[in-house]
Symmetry: C2
Subunit: 370 residues, 2 copies
Amino acid sequence: MTPENPTSRFATLPDTSEREATDLFHREEVQLALRNRGMPLEIMRYPVTPSGMHYLVIHFDIPDVNIDQWKLQVGGLVSQPLSLSLDDIKKRPARTMAVTMECAGNGRALLNPRVFSQPWFNEGIGTAEWTGTPLKGILEEAGLTDGAVNIVFSGADQGIQGEVLQVYQRSLNIAESMREEMMLVYEMNGQPLQPQHGYPLRLLVPGWYGMASVKWLDRIEAVEDQFQGYQMAKAYRYTQVREEPGEPVTLIRVRALMIPPGIPDTMSRVRWLTAGQQSLTGRAWAGRLGVSRVEVSVDDGSTWSEATLGEQVSTFAWREWSFVWNAVRGWHTLSVRATDTEENVQPIDQFWNAQGMGNNMAQRVRVLVE
Amino acid sequence: MTPENPTSRFATLPDTSEREATDLFHREEVQLALRNRGMPLEIMRYPVTPSGMHYLVIHFDIPDVNIDQWKLQVGGLVSQPLSLSLDDIKKRPARTMAVTMECAGNGRALLNPRVFSQPWFNEGIGTAEWTGTPLKGILEEAGLTDGAVNIVFSGADQGIQGEVLQVYQRSLNIAESMREEMMLVYEMNGQPLQPQHGYPLRLLVPGWYGMASVKWLDRIEAVEDQFQGYQMAKAYRYTQVREEPGEPVTLIRVRALMIPPGIPDTMSRVRWLTAGQQSLTGRAWAGRLGVSRVEVSVDDGSTWSEATLGEQVSTFAWREWSFVWNAVRGWHTLSVRATDTEENVQPIDQFWNAQGMGNNMAQRVRVLVE
């Protein structure tokens, strides 16, 4: 069972001058890849991602929160400003919900021409069971006044981005903020939030890309205008050139991923497997929508076959899919794509935009069958 | 408090063709950086690294272990082969120990010329409280016979590396294996091992680089020869050219790291801080040895000042250090270096070798004070 050397081309990588620019990455991007964290795709075998394997983006530094002094401030255009300790929040009605979260930049490193930022291939994902209290109850207690049109959520983390010194801030309109599933969460997989996931409190915005779920949340403010903070007006936009305002990045687009089958080569991550029946499995999700269909291709997208759909873990979490492949000897490129309940199909070609957001092009997995 | 634009050069990164090869990385390396996980350096504020932030290397895939069928097999040159369930192992004498673990490749991405593999800058570290049972007791119960000279530890994880299909295997000689601190661990920070950390059982080899602490351990075998497996004879060697046998990589070399002070720029990770007294802190460790001295430079290594040493977390874990810097306006390169109890001093220049192992050159942190 010795493979016919699928890896010899990786024994030494070519000189950087001999490689295509799309295969080269900057030092700054690698620094980000090592601070942020991806979910190894084989971990999709678990319906809920084990602790420490959920994807992670940390825009600035992980703040050092002193829980004895920490309060959540709720203010702005409200009739009753609130100042709540973590214990106050934990005494409120609690709910636990499994949610699939994905980075808006997932798929960015697959773009051509390349876009410089956190270089995700497909691993910027994870599903956790979050416990907290509905945001709606907090807003109702504070009592939004008539002029309020947006809610601004601020974190304790501070940094420089796009030449602007800022704390991390995002906003939602009132209708979104009052949806039943929006939560303030303090537990993840039955444990207190870890520092890197937003301890002590995080906004959870199911169905939206992860940038909406503000970590280290310590301030909620009702305002009368559209909020024009950096993370709303500059980052997280769909644009063709960086200078354009473009459209805001919001809900998670449909995507399926496959657990790469067989045995990996360490450096290239190319897979090696034996001929015969192979079970291909993975997960698919579509943000606020459901997944209606998953298809698998074993010939690099030329033909597609329907996969079997399994249970959905929860309304806002992924569902399993499976497909039996009769693998024949040779090199193959496997692929998978999903369709959501509004008939949006994952594209085979890239969804290119200047910030590398929402690129849900179908995953490709290179395998050698022997 | 608007910084004078320390980040403008990162607004758009230059074309790859305009950059030095040492600033460019291959797609395969970025894939590894996203599967493996670094510890953000600000997390050194905690004596024990919170769960999910410890560094992580996964050579192959994370195996799917069925605990109902799992046994640890102890065999080879022993008088009494053993087959132990996880419950059997948990019933044995237990011990909890804080240990600083570091990847042998930590510092690899700082080398010039570059070495292609997992591209760590300085974040391949972590300190955990591990709980398990001493290896010595298991070996004594099995009863090593006279011919035994090495103990081979095998994991359940399988992959292709260096064109060899293998399970992950490492060996230790008898004297090392019988040291009091060697353990078989099943808990990390008071919780059952997570899949990515070796569930259900991991060898813990305090003082050695992380490759010795075999994850997903399911077989221990006493053998009469030097073990020549890939991870011993080919990987984890200090060599000047890959083809040479070189010397084995063993104990952790002395290193100190600094929590980057001030506020980060998101993309470049350059730091911005205000003039005046700044407290610099971090951790230092030296594997099996102690740390006798930590020095800080605020002028890119031209002059050095002694830092104050804090408590050592445990015999095999890091100790804190601190230093008060009177920061003046301008750009500065901060650096820190440690000396161990055998007077080995961290080098300012790189420790280059063909596999990028044990490069403990002093960290450099670029800051703008305003």
